[in-house]
């Protein structure tokens, strides 16, 4: 079952890759866009730091540049789960039948169909290029343990956010149109770009436990840079959140499928 699912996902990814790389100009432009977009935030931080004695609450320019490139990594991961954003509309339109009658996991079929493999690849390449350039040029001191901890927190953070998005999308079974709630979630992603440890404690808590954007930006970056104390606390928070949201997602999915009905065909 797992092997078959993985093979299917790989095929969907390949199809998406070929589909999007047909347009060469667009491919080059998209790659350029990712670099320019990150470059713009670097200019933003450079401009701000010019007025704040080269530091913003303990953050230096290279560290803020690392934070900027990390946002691209989480965006790249999200490209594999674009289907979650379309889930609520498929539920409301009664299009879920198509996935329920396939001999693979309906969720996997739904996600696989909307994978943006090429965009994800472009974003990962851009993030890698930017991260490498910043670390080499500014001689950012890194340790293997710090890098591993940072990436692990990032992975847990991405999983948590995707599970929350999944739960919000599944709530469409009961609440109807939930695009506004999803939209609100998108906006809270604006906090990703800024070091949230500079904000008041209540906001830091909200952005770690309730809308955990801190787990895909500030906290993994601090662990990556070997700053902000031992990373175990954030790893534990991430693991606890993933566990909680996975259980909740599983339960909602089970109940939702029992509730689902559609007409037509």
């Amino acid at each position: 079952m797992w092997r078959r699912s993985c093979r299917l996902l790989a095929r969907f990814a390949l199809v998406s890759f070929h589909d999007m790389s047909v347009f060469r100009t667009d491919f080059v432009m998209s790659l350029l866009h990712n670099l320019v977009y990150q470059g713009i935030f670097l200019i933003f931080w450079k401009s701000v730091l010019a007025f704040t004695a080269s530091r913003l609450g303990g953050w230096t320019f290279p560290e803020l540049a690392v934070l900027t490139s990390f946002t691209l990594v989480s965006a790249a991961v999200a490209q594999w789960f674009v289907g979650l954003q379309q889930l609520s509309s498929k539920i409301l339109d009664g299009d879920l039948d198509k996935y329920l009658c396939k001999p693979v996991s309906p969720l996997l079929a739904l996600l696989g169909e909307s994978v943006n493999a090429l965009v994800s690849f472009q974003q990962l390449v851009s993030a890698g290029l930017l991260l490498t350039a910043v670390c080499l040029y500014y001689r950012v001191p890194l340790t293997l343990g710090g890098v591993a901890a940072g990436l692990a927190i990032l992975a847990l953070g991405c999983a948590t956010i995707l599970l929350i998005r999944g739960c919000v999308a599944l709530s469409a079974f009961w609440l109807g149109d939930v695009s506004r709630i999803s939209g609100l979630f998108e906006i809270s992603g604006d906090f990703e770009r800024y070091p949230i440890n500079l904000f008041p404690g209540w906001l830091q808590g909200t952005l770690t436990w309730i809308v955990p954007v801190g787990l895909i930006s500030t906290w993994p970056v601090l662990a990556f840079l070997g700053k902000g104390g031992p990373p175990w606390a954030w790893l534990a928070v991430g693991a606890a959140l993933v566990l909680f949201w996975s259980l909740l997602f599983g339960e909602i999915w089970r109940r939702a499928l029992r509730r689902y009905e559609s007409f037509g065909g």
């Binding site: 080059v28 866009h33 320019v36 977009y37 401009s47 506004r180 906090f191």
Partner: protein, 268 residues
């Protein structure tokens, strides 16, 4: 000419009536705007903890700047999809319908795209005033400055429309325009003053910005609203916006003419 204008105004009114997302816009103002403004407020509060001025703006002026840009951004948001609409009409072969009609496709799309921003302005003004009061920001009362601000905002919207229309028109040659569009969105964020006021950017970027049309969209109207500019400077900035419109209009007309000559669709 008058008859044509009446037709275009009819298109605008129809679009306003069919803007079914009216309720959604209220929700967006109630839910999203406070959050976005809060992010900006908190970030700049931290930044101003170590400095008194950024790019010639004090803390209150900076927050006012972002509030004006946020208001303009919401009003102009529907214009950002013009490139997609043009791409869609050309790519799906629907352009035939418009080419066969006794009206210009460009003005038609322009008036059609003004419907949602008109509603957004009506809805946004009370929220703008409310946020100004809550954040204790000065409310501009000088009728001359307000008139200049609205005129400048309108000119900015036309500049944005022209850029979006030009990007959409590239469909005649490149078929897929989304990479170019995204790249322009990035440049637009920086050079329009949406991310940070142009005056706070490094000198090289400021010089580069002077050569581009983007600052006409947000930066110029926001600086005019602040009311600190001498009337002559404000007039010069609006003249600059008008010149950009003329340049972009000429470019769009030339691209459109060549593009339509290349256009071919099957079926019907």
């Amino acid at each position: 000419m008058v008859r044509r204008l009446r037709v275009y105004l009819g298109v605008l009114l129809t679009r306003m009536k069919s803007a079914a997302h009216f309720r959604a816009n209220v929700i967006a103002w109630v839910l999203y705007s406070p959050l976005q403004i809060a992010i900006i407020y908190l970030l700049w509060k931290i930044i101003y903890g170590t400095t008194r001025e950024v790019g010639g703006l004090r803390f209150n002026e900076m927050i006012l700047y972002y509030l004006v840009v946020h208001f303009l951004g919401r009003a102009m948001l529907p214009l950002q999809t013009v490139n997609y609409e043009v791409w869609s009409e050309i790519n799906k072969g629907k352009l035939d319908i418009y080419l066969a009609r006794p009206l210009g496709f460009g003005p038609f799309v322009f008036f059609r795209s003004l419907g949602a921003p008109t509603l957004e302005i009506c809805l946004g003004v009370p929220f703008f005033l409310l946020f100004s009061v809550l954040l204790r920001l000065p409310i501009q009362t000088d009728p001359l400055v307000l008139a200049a601000f609205f005129l400048s905002g309108l000119l900015g919207a036309v500049v944005l429309f022209m850029i979006q229309f030009l990007i959409g028109s590239l469909t005649f040659w490149v078929e897929k325009i989304f990479g170019i569009r995204d790249l322009m969105v990035s440049l637009f964020m920086l050079f329009s003053g949406q991310l940070i006021p142009i005056s706070a950017l490094p000198p090289l970027v400021v010089r580069l910005s002077r050569l581009l049309p983007f600052e006409s969209i947000f930066f110029v109207p926001a600086m005019i609203y602040r009311g600190a500019l001498p009337h002559l400077d404000a007039a010069a900035l609006m003249l600059q916006q008008a010149i950009w419109i003329a340049v972009l209009w000429a470019a769009a007309a030339a691209v459109w003419k060549r593009g339509v000559a290349r256009y071919a669709s099957q079926g019907g």
